[in-house]
């Protein structure tokens, strides 16, 4: 029973106004294609979660989709601040947003608790920091064995996780390699999961290397084939990070006019990712990954 659908269908069905969503990816495998479709479908009042809200969250915020941001590091990795986010926080443009802020470890712990259906997760963190002062969801718990006081954060269980992967079968069994971030935890923590894959492969490819499966199809609701769906982020083995675009984003996001022109041209101005890729043209070729294959392992017995 295939779960294959288009990005348009997947977002329409699994991302509603007011939902809590997470598009994870630590630099690697960030699904810009899904973010753009959410903007095109003009979703509103979203709570968006992620350790490292970067360019695509900056675009969601600037496009007016976001009511609340749950995060730990909001920047343009390697290239400066996120200006649309700053405009929202510093000047309520296009409208004010709420921030709920942790450190990376706190966000990892929240999603781990969410995936494990634990109501909280204990961690050694935050002592002496101002973060608990501004975030009442950071509390403490006392170890029943040592009496030690630890930090505690509550489970995070989004409505929908959107996880980009290198390859998946039609049921959403997904192989991922390279940086893994917190994608597995985000998928298990969420009520619904959209898998977006560079390639849809036969189930036999997945079964040939079951240790490579990061997310099992049994937690997946939709599977979208979207080659080049991470650009300007990257997919190890498929295409490189578009570092030039990250640097250029600084300038684009700083100027509301340029920001809107960008959305008009690359988000509202295309029907879908395929049209975006067509418009990119030869630039895609430039980013295509070279070959560096691992040695296979033997699953025989």
């Amino acid at each position: 029973m295939s779960k294959l659908m288009t990005m348009k269908q997947a977002i329409r069905r699994f991302v509603q106004d007011g939902d809590t969503i997470v598009i994870e990816g630590f630099t690697h495998l960030i699904c810009f294609a899904a973010g753009h479709e959410i903007i095109r479908q003009r979703r509103r009042e979203l709570t968006v979660c992620r350790l490292t809200p970067d360019l695509i969250y900056d675009q969601l915020i600037g496009a007016g989709c976001v009511r609340r941001l749950i995060f730990s590091w909001a920047g343009n990795p390697g290239a400066g601040p996120l200006h649309a986010l700053r405009r929202a926080v510093e000047h309520d443009i296009p409208h004010s947003i709420e921030l709920e802020e942790y450190s990376h470890f706190g966000m990892v712990a929240r999603l781990t608790a969410g995936a494990a259906k634990l109501p909280f997760y204990p961690l050694r963190d935050y002592r002496g920091s101002d973060l608990p002062r501004v975030n009442p969801r950071i509390k403490t718990v006392t170890c029943p064995f040592t009496g030690e006081e630890l930090a505690a954060v509550p489970a995070l269980n989004p409505d929908t996780a959107i996880i980009h992967v290198q390859r998946a079968d039609e049921n959403g069994n997904a192989h991922v390699w390279g940086l893994l971030g917190v994608q597995k935890e985000a998928a298990f923590a969420s009520r619904q999961v959209i898998i977006v894959a560079e390639e849809i492969v036969p189930e036999s490819v997945i079964r040939a290397d079951p240790n490579r499966t990061l997310i099992p199809g049994l937690v997946v609701d939709a599977v979208v084939r979207e080659p080049f769906g991470c650009h300007p982020s990257y997919a190890q083995g498929y295409y490189d990070r578009d570092n030039d675009f990250y640097v250029r984003w600084r300038e684009i996001s700083q100027d509301p006019g340029k920001f809107n022109s960008y959305l008009d041209e690359w988000v509202y101005g295309v029907r879908d990712r395929a049209e975006y890729v067509a418009r990119m043209g030869a630039a895609c070729e430039r980013l295509k990954a070279g070959d560096q294959y691992c040695e296979p392992v033997n699953y025989g017995y």
Partner: protein
């Protein structure tokens, strides 16, 4: 001994010299990355670099511009999840050295990467903690590399993202700036060495409180020709 070098180059050298062979370093992009690679090519060939992104023992074939660059993954020794990085490596006590940066650092070694001004309505919204709060608390030693000015060295930071000498903690092992080098004595920052050519006066002008000066104030050793060759070469494949 070279005489023609930048403050950044000296900062990288001074940070690199603090690293010991065999240590496990939680490393970020930019100057800390250069410092680690310099140390590995000189006195600490066994330094193990762990990036927050999960790449362990990376040997990048190009200069990574992000801690999640694919070049940090290809040919690394191990790639692990963020859960493993924070639970098993950092909280697990395996990280000897962490590098921190910040928009502000105060006399107690507190770092601010969250907001300038009021939290609810900031003058400048900064990126936030990332892993910095837990690195400050859980790495065995931390080094801070930061440019120095009265604004970036206030008596109290606007927001404590990463705690310094609070709660009886020792604070950063060293702060290296474009003017000098600082350590913490009894919970307070002390100038211990100057960049060659810099003066105590300059330091005072660029510090937001009455900075303590070590009795045996030294000058930082200038970069050697070897150090400069490596930094400038950035030849990551040698």
């Amino acid at each position: 001994m070279a005489t023609d070098y930048s403050a950044n180059e000296l900062m990288v050298c001074q940070a690199a010299r603090q690293l010991r062979d065999g240590e496990v370093v939680f490393v970020g992009i930019g100057l800390p990355n250069l410092a680690c690679n310099l140390a590995r090519r000189l006195h600490a060939p066994g330094l193990v670099l762990i990036y927050e992104s999960g790449a362990v023992g990376a040997e990048p074939k190009r200069l990574p511009i992000s801690i999640g660059d694919p070049s940090l993954v290809t040919n690394s020794l191990s790639v692990c999840s963020m859960f493993d990085v924070f639970s098993y490596y950092l909280q697990g006590g395996l990280i000897d050295v962490g590098f921190l940066q910040g928009a502000q650092i105060d006399r107690f070694g507190n770092l601010n990467t969250t907001v300038i001004g009021d939290y609810a309505r900031p003058a400048v919204r900064l990126p936030g903690s990332g892993g910095a709060c837990e690195i400050a608390l859980l790495a065995k030693r931390t080094f801070v590399i930061a440019p120095q000015s009265k604004r970036s060295f206030p008596e109290r930071v606007d927001f404590i993202t990463s705690p310094g000498c609070v709660d009886g903690r020792a604070g950063p092992a060293m702060v290296v700036t474009n003017l000098g080098c600082y350590e913490f004595v009894e919970g307070e920052m002390v100038l211990t060495a100057l960049h060659p050519g810099c003066t105590v006066e300059q330091v005072r002008e660029n510090t937001g409180w009455e900075i303590a000066i070590a009795e045996d104030l030294k000058y930082i050793e200038p970069p050697t020709a070897e150090e400069l060759r490596i930094i400038r070469g950035q030849d990551l494949q040698d």
